[in-house]
């Protein structure tokens, strides 16, 4: 039996999307031995590496940017579905998620395509601009922050919070600023790329502990996995990590799922200071790029998600070993220019 799953975020670049990690998790799962798994990559740029990873992704399609609107997005999915008979779509990019939230029911009714994603209320409750409220509900702290809708707000926020501080975009990117001048530079970079709001957050010195999980939409999770970032890139992306058994951090994640009735994959980002206080940094509404780490350590959340969506039995435990090390690495592949020509001109490969 063939089971076709489309996955976005296959931009395995220096600021990696989660897509190729999700695909590897699916390829190495027990599910792959039970069904004929066909994986479709949904890309936004002809140079997204996943497009060319023919060993794990069977075929890729270029998608219109979410800014092109709902109709154009739906038409593209309809076209892909007609050819591929999609059963499940795993969305892995924050920027496209609001659009999928809008069309999720339509995809199911019209095409039979299933997705496990948060609804609009959940999505908004974990927004970077509302962390205070969420942190209080799940019993952890939150760094002081200000949501800025103008340059005036921003300069006032930097002055009030002080440096070093973190300057963050609405969806992606966060930069540490050691001085107001540096903060200013980051502000312009973010506004030019992502627009408003810009968030200024006080910098918490400590360790970054992150939890990946998946919620069933009814208040329960079906698997949590925590790690500590050991090394990060200049963009703050994890390069090496170690699995941990940190009960308060895992409990905070469990509590978030329960409180929000979270549906779908997520990443809870926290900082733990020298006193052991846990600060909520943000909640990403999809699997993080390091999703493969959890899968390789026995918590295969993409597989569990697909099993749930296709009415198969799935595991719900969070039993994994601490002390498992993730080592990210760089790699190259060689493809013919004809591949690029095909994806760039026809929009599929």
């Amino acid at each position: 039996m063939q089971l076709t799953i489309a996955v976005s975020g296959i931009n395995a670049i220096d600021n990696p999307g989660p897509g190729t990690g999700i695909v590897r998790a699916l390829r190495e799962s027990a599910l792959a031995a039970e069904v004929d798994l066909r994986i479709i990559g949904l890309a936004y740029d002809s140079m997204e590496p996943g497009i060319y990873m023919h060993d794990i992704i069977d075929k890729s399609y270029l998608m219109p940017y979410p800014s092109a609107g709902r109709d154009s997005f739906l038409n593209r999915i309809a076209h892909i579905h007609e050819r591929e008979n999609l059963s499940v779509i795993i969305s892995a990019l924050d920027a496209e998620l609001p659009l999928y939230i809008d069309v999720k029911d339509m995809l199911r009714e019209r095409f039979g395509i299933r997705m496990l994603i948060p609804d609009r209320t959940m999505f908004q409750l974990r927004d970077k601009t509302r962390l205070k409220e969420l942190a209080e509900r799940i019993g952890i702290k939150v760094p002081e922050y200000t949501v800025c809708g103008s340059y005036g707000d921003f300069t006032a926020a930097v002055e009030s919070i002080g440096c070093p501080c973190m300057v963050k975009g609405p969806f992606y990117e966060a930069f540490k600023a050691y001085s107001p001048a540096e903060a200013d530079e980051h502000f312009h970079k973010i506004v030019n790329k992502w627009g408003y709001p810009v968030i200024v957050q006080s910098f918490i010195k400590g360790d970054e502990y992150n939890v990946i999980g998946c919620g069933d939409g009814k208040g329960a999770d079906f698997g949590l996995f925590a790690m500590r970032k050991m090394t990060v890139t200049n963009l703050g992306k994890v390069w090496n990590a170690v699995s941990i058994d940190n009960k308060p951090v895992l409990e905070a994640a469990r509590s978030m799922v329960e409180h929000l009735h979270w549906s779908g994959g997520f990443e809870l980002e926290t900082m733990v200071d020298a006193k052991g206080d846990i600060y909520l940094i943000e909640v990403n509404p999809r699997f993080p790029a390091w999703v493969y780490m959890a899968a390789a350590a026995g918590i295969n959340l993409p597989e569990r998600m697909v099993r749930l969506l296709t009415d198969r039995v799935f595991e719900k435990h969070s039993n994994y070993s601490s002390g498992k090390l993730m080592i990210r690495f760089t790699g190259e592949m060689l493809r013919d220019i004809a591949d690029f020509e095909k994806i760039a001109t026809v929009g599929e490969l």
């Binding site: 790690m227 170690v242 941990i244 009960k247």
Partner: protein
């Protein structure tokens, strides 16, 4: 002194220590391994110096100083 955190540490004969709650790792020498092993098995800090004296053939003063220094290090790392 609280030793609960210490009890959860994974320690190998080579002196490599892993804290599963924080993900931090440390290395220590043979004396450190002996002190941590003794503490994990429930020994009081005051009982450890004689063990070190006997195991490493050092004077009582040296053993007591080594144990005190090591405990101080563990305290700084918030492991006790």
């Amino acid at each position: 002194m609280e030793f609960e955190r210490l009890k959860s540490l994974a320690i190998s004969d080579s002196g490599f220590i892993f804290d599963p709650a924080s993900g931090h790792s440390y290395t220590t020498n043979g004396t450190g391994v002996s002190i941590i092993t003794a503490l994990k098995s429930g020994a009081n800090p005051g009982d450890i110096a004689p063990l070190i004296m006997e195991e490493y053939q050092v004077s009582p003063d040296d053993a007591e100083r080594d144990v005190a220094d090591f405990l101080d290090g563990l305290r700084k790392l918030m492991l006790i």
